[in-house]
Amino acid sequence: MSTYILRRLGQGIPQLFIISIILFMLMQAFGDPVATLGARTPTKQADKERLRRMLGLDQPAYVQYLTWLVGNDWRKMDLDGDGTPETYGQRRGILRGDWGNSLVTRRPVLEMIGDRLPNTLILMITAEVVIITSSLAIGLYSALRPYSLFDNLITGLSFVGYSMPVFWLALMLMYIFAVNFRRWGLPYLPTVGMFDPEVGKTPAELIKHMILPVTTLAIISIAGYSRFVRSSVLEVLSQDYIRTARAKGVRSFQVVLRHALPNAALPFITLIGLDIPFLLAGAVVTERIFAWPGMGRLFIDHTARADFPVLMGILILISIAVVIFQIITDVIYSFVDPRIRLG
């Protein structure tokens, strides 16, 4: 098992390097960050050049990449522009835990992500719990009564859910449960942010503010997932060992819960494991609509300012999560399915 994990890591690490190179090339194409600093853009040409030198933007792209990767604190840099290097660099590189500083706020990238990550996680984990439980329940129920009215209804609805633009669903939910409920004098839900500033940061407020974004995220995912659960349960139910279990008189719900569900859940585990890291990212639109102060909004806000250390940080973090979750999924899979031996 541990050799397997090591081997997978050995494949994952080069992959992360490829990803980081692709991303870095994209960032190079991004344009001049100094020009997009807004009001803080220096007006004098000499000041602009000095700022570029300080940020290391005057270096060739491969030097910038290496600086980002392993740092430059052993090299003398030419900061005053007289042609002779005189100051040691201060970057330690991502491999030594220095994710760089934001060009906009000058704060360490890791700190900025750290501020937003818990907000995204709290939204995502809640949404994921809702998604997994509901799609298992709906998928199982549909599979036990295939082509019934409920099943056909769910099939139709899941197509609608799958085809729905996230923002359209979010706006509809907001319009019904926030705007119109308020108009009709019913208890209504808040639409923006995590807390009401007048009430303060209480757990009750947080839950109230989470209902709409979680519902939005859940409906979109449940649509696809419940179909997936349905088809894998249906497939398992047609197997011989299910017929054997039924024939020897095992009660119906026992057959489903003990024999069918664990086997049907196997492909579902893979699907979820591979999708979870993308949930970190997938909520860009949802976070924007509900003004949720998470990573997605951090990304959007800093795209507009060409703040590429922050963008690189977020994208690399998600890529690391993707690679790690792929390994975790495979390992969990081998525990749940005794037929699989990892070696």
Binding site: P14, Q15, I18, I19, I22, L23, L26, M27, A29, F30, G31, F159, V160, Y162, S163, M164, P165, V166, F167, W168, L171, M174, Y175, V179, T191, F278, A281, G282, V284, V285, R288, I289, F299, I300, T303, A304, A306, L311, I314, L315, I318, S319, V322, V323
Partner: protein, 330 residues
């Protein structure tokens, strides 16, 4: 030969008299597709939408007061009468007006043309990239395969919406307008098409690679090679046509995904710029009018939903119809 075909198609032979000729794969696919109820509903929906965006322009016309004349067609869609801004749906503007007083009904028609154009073109880009990369990797194998597939995996591990946002931001602005079938389009239309295509080919490349890997060992490929066919001829005339089924399905669903992607990017304010309407950029900023002017986002959003729904229904039907091992919906 007829016997082997009819045994695999037992249900078909029950319906058809055994004396008739065996169905060609194409006829069989068409037959399967037509029996797929969801796909036929989706096709009907798409036909209605195509009628709407093609001929809707003939009924949308009106008096444009800023230029003091009656206008029709796209001029009406772009006529901004600020005295009419944010009017709710009424007899003269059945979908209401937007923040600068343009008719939303006319804009959903002309925006729909652009959205569909973006969707189809982006799917074409996606299919070309996916088919070429997938087949090159599988056909040549070795280091070509390793390099292309590592690249594909790396692209897959980056969330595509993030790539879209970065690409759309980087290339936004600075492009000349161009003329397309008598319509002035901003260069950002091309940018969005390319970006969506470039960020969505990865799954297709893997499907094509898997198919070509199994096909290239077949005898007819050896025969073609023995006859002296070039690599290009083998790939494009012998291998790719035999993976046409996944290509068609991916292209269909790709149109839906591209329309959604355009909507997301535009919703974030990074999409097609300028006067050119798309369903996506009609939604840009509309959420600020969530409670005061819901018609701003309701109508273009519903158009996107119906189009994507229709395409997904059709794509699902095609998948079932074109899969030779499919026994569903027969």
């Amino acid at each position: 030969m007829a016997d082997t075909v009819s045994t695999t198609l037992s249900k078909e032979t029950i319906i058809k008299p055994p004396s008739s000729a065996p169905l060609s794969p194409l006829r069989l696919g068409v037959r399967r597709f037509r029996r797929h109820r969801m796909a036929m509903i989706g096709l009907g929906l798409l036909l209605l939408l195509i009628l709407y965006i093609s001929f809707g322009g003939f009924v949308s016309r009106g008096y444009c007061s800023p230029i003091k004349q009656n206008v029709s067609g796209e001029a009406w869609a772009n006529c901004n009468d600020t005295s009419l801004k944010l009017n709710p749906p009424s007899a003269s503007h059945i979908f209401g007006t937007d923040v600068i007083g343009r008719d939303i009904f006319a804009r959903t028609i002309y925006g729909g043309q652009i959205s569909v154009l973006i969707g189809i073109s982006a799917a074409v880009v996606e299919v070309i990239l996916g088919a070429v990369i997938g087949s090159l990797a599988a056909y040549y194998g070795g280091w070509v395969d390793s390099v292309l597939m590592r690249f594909t995996e790396a692209m897959l591990n980056i969330p595509s919406l993030f790539l879209l946002i970065i690409g759309a931001h980087f290339f936004s602005g600075g492009l000349p307008t161009f003329n397309f079938f008598g319509r002035e389009l901003t260069g950002s239309v091309i940018v969005i098409i390319l970006i969506i295509g470039v960020t969505s080919w990865m799954y297709l490349a893997r499907i094509v690679r898997a198919n070509v890997l199994s096909l290239r060992e077949r005898d007819y490929i050896s025969a073609a090679r023995a006859l002296g066919a070039s690599d290009g001829r083998i790939i494009f005339l012998h291998l790719l046509p035999n993976t046409i089924a996944p290509l068609i399905v991916s292209a269909t669903l790709g149109v839906a995904n591209a329309i959604l992607a355009e909507a997301y990017v535009s919703f974030l304010g990074l999409g097609v710029q300028g006067a050119t309407a798309t369903w996506g950029n009609m939604l840009d900023g509309a959420y600020q009018y969530l409670d005061t002017a819901p018609w701003l986002w309701f109508f273009p959003g519903t158009m996107i939903l119906l189009t994507v729904l229709g395409i997904n229904f059709v794509g699902d039907g095609l998948r079932d119809a074109l899969d030779p091992y499919s026994t569903r919906h027969l």
